[in-house]
């Protein structure tokens, strides 16, 4: 993991090199998530394809990368903001690395600049689970998957909603087996792409993740996802049940029994906290 320190080694600007990347003409903003701006860019400038030399031999495919910039949050106190940003970038990189080692599908890490809050990740070419499952289309989506034709968004992936939920469960089981807690599981934080071994679900956005062996944390992780399902995908109970079923299979009978029991407790807790006063 190469950590470029935010000092200014490049003479022309006093910007950190990772911030210079954002100014490259190929850098396109993709979205503004909950806490970071996400860009798509190329590390080397895209080759002028039709131009000299490279034309005949297949040009080396320059794959895009994803830049995740946790920009300064002006609403937060500066000290608090700096500390949080640094901790989260480093934490995210650490968690991703651990996931990669444990065989969880996550984007690979290309660059970390904790000082500036910048993370460079592999570009995942696909759609979010949220867009693919019923009810999840955003109202003001720039890139509506469900083209006006009313075509099923799942067609290009050759799978159905059931398979997606199964894949999600399997990934989560792997994640939790490695004692990583995602911390912000939602259907927007899972991507579906066509990989070498068929369609796969890739977990993204580990900004709130942490390492924990506690059943409690894993159960809360699942509970967060359950609530996200319920609030984005109407009538999602059967879908989430499928996720849990496959999760249980992946985790193993014994472990799952414990997590499931705790999950019931956590659910109750959410209910009980129905406010006082």
């Amino acid at each position: 993991m190469a950590t470029s320190i935010g000092s200014s080694s490049g003479p022309p600007s006093h910007l950190s090199p990772s911030l210079v990347l954002l100014q490259s003409p190929t850098c396109k903003p993709i979205s503004q998530g909950a806490e970071a701006r996400v860009f798509k860019t190329y590390l080397s400038p895209p080759l002028p394809t039709a131009a000299a030399g490279f034309n005949a031999a297949s040009p080396p495919q320059v794959s895009p990368i994803l830049l995740k910039h946790r920009f300064k949050k002006a609403y937060r106190h500066e000290i608090l903001d700096t500390a949080l940003t640094k901790a989260r970038v480093a934490g995210e990189a650490r968690a991703l690395l651990k996931c990669l080692r444990s065989g969880v599908n996550v984007p690979s890490i290309l660059m970390v600049d904790a000082q500036e809050g910048m993370l460079g990740l592999e570009w995942i070419d696909g759609h979010s689970v949220r867009q693919l499952l019923p009810g999840g289309e955003e109202e003001e989506d720039d890139d509506p998957v469900t083209a006006d034709s009313g075509e099923d968004p799942l067609t290009p992936y050759c799978i159905d909603a059931d398979t997606i939920t199964q894949l999600i469960g399997a990934q989560l089981a792997k994640l939790h087996k490695a004692d990583i807690v995602h911390g912000d599981l939602t259907t927007s934080n899972m991507m579906v792409r066509r990989g070498r071994a068929g369609t796969e679900v890739v977990l993204i956005d580990f900004g709130l993740s942490f390492t924990s062996t506690l059943v409690e944390d894993k159960a809360v992780d699942l509970y967060v996802l359950e609530r996200a399902f319920a609030s984005t995908h109407p009538d999602s109970e059967p879908m989430f049940a499928k996720v849990l079923e496959s999760y249980g299979k992946g985790l193993g009978q014994k472990e799952w029994g414990v997590v499931n029991k705790r999950l019931d407790e956590v659910r109750l807790r959410g209910r009980k906290r129905s406010m006082v006063g």
Partner: protein, 367 residues
């Protein structure tokens, strides 16, 4: 089969303006208000009277004493409200009261008053969810169409998004409410409860300079506040803490003042709230935020939320203390909306409950 039915707004078209009386007393505020729904769909606040039970510094309000306060003041406040509105009880269409959530004893005293008026004047009763009252009043006053709602008060901390006739709770506190956290800290450093502990913390925080490190506890969409309260309380017993806010001598530089603690507490807790709100906005794809509840009139919170919304090209809607802090008019507003959808609470069911979640209410008046 509710999933298959179409979600349609069930508000009936009015043939005449409707009037409602709202009675609120779920915590230490006794509020009575009269609202009129005009033929063109707008609402007019005819009166909004409130009487607050204020305890001495260092003390919170106990259910029993609060109920006593409400019983003592109920008739005065109601008369006052009707007089200001220039409306006779006979002209009202319905009596709305807070069914919950809230403190049991105060809720019961106010519900009893509501029942009595209802029987005396033969008016239909409507039990209203307190949180829905806040949301509906906020929407009415600010004109926000479909906002993410941050509901922050002494008893509640929730991030709410509307979907399919239900206000769904996106994130909430896992332990104590944010107002409770602030109020209890105000007691620790002996701030006055007049007009409200939260207001005094806000004023004190303006003089704070030093940001002390407090835990930052967001858990997905949820927040946890009790640990923060514990650590900020611990700092109030730290040897660097100076209750009077002044150094003991010229050498005494490493000090923490009450103002610093108020400042740090606000900065940390509000940053967490803004963060979970932002997360909900990003998730739902909404550009509007509405802040309601007593803590919602904190200007620092509004300012922080404003900066966040601006970064997202969004907009913040907030109200002032008249509508943020518990009031009767919001109960009248939500109750009248329900009444116009044909919902009334029969006398036998006119109970109140301490636990009544926002997502338990069917929001028939929205499509």
């Amino acid at each position: 089969m509710p999933g298959l039915l179409q979600m349609r707004c069930q508000l009936t078209v009015q043939d005449r303006p409707h009037l409602a009386l709202g009675l609120e007393g779920s915590a230490n505020k006794l509020g009575v208000g009269v609202i009129r729904h005009e033929l063109d769909g707008s609402a007019t606040v005819l009166s909004n009277v409130r009487h607050t039970y204020i305890t001495p510094p260092g003390e919170g309000f106990q259910p029993r004493d609060t109920a006593l306060h409400h019983r003592h003041w109920a008739l005065n406040v109601i008369n006052d409200s009707l007089r200001t509105a220039g409306v006779s009880v006979h002209a009202l269409d319905c009596i709305c009261y807070t069914k919950g959530p809230g403190m049991g004893a105060p809720l019961q005293s106010v519900a009893l008053v509501a029942r009595t008026i209802s029987l005396l004047y033969d008016k239909p009763l409507i039990g209203v969810n307190h949180c829905i009252g806040h949301i509906e009043m906020g929407r009415e006053i600010t004109g926000a169409k479909n906002p993410i709602v941050l509901y922050v008060s002494g008893g509640n901390t929730q991030v709410i998004a509307y979907s399919r006739q239900c206000y769904r709770i996106f994130g909430e506190t896992l332990d104590i409410a944010v107002g409770n956290c602030l109020d209890r800290f105000a007691r620790v450093i002996n701030l006055s409860n007049d007009p409200s502990p939260g207001y005094n913390i806000e004023q004190e925080a303006k003089r704070g300079k030093r940001l002390v490190t407090l835990p930052y506890a967001t858990k997905g969409m949820d927040v946890s506040l009790s640990g923060i309260l514990t650590s900020v309380e611990a700092l109030a017993y730290d040897k660097r803490f100076r209750q009077d806010g002044k150094p003991k001598g010229p050498e005494d530089t490493d000090i923490i003042t009450p103002a610093d603690l108020c400042f740090s507490l606000q900065e940390t807790v509000f940053a967490m709230l803004v963060e979970i709100t932002e997360r909900a906005m990003a998730h739902v794809g909404s550009k509007e935020v509405l802040i309601v509840g007593g803590v919602g009139c904190n200007e620092r919170l509004q300012e922080m939320m404003g900066i966040m919304a601006k970064e997202r090209n969004g907009q913040v809607f907030a109200t002032d203390e008249r509508f943020c802090i518990d009031n009767g008019i919001m109960i009248a507003q939500a109750g009248l909306l329900a009444f116009r959808c044909g919902i009334t609470t029969p006398l036998a069911k006119s109970t109140c409950t301490q636990r009544y979640r926002t997502d338990q209410v069917e929001v028939l008046w929205r499509s």
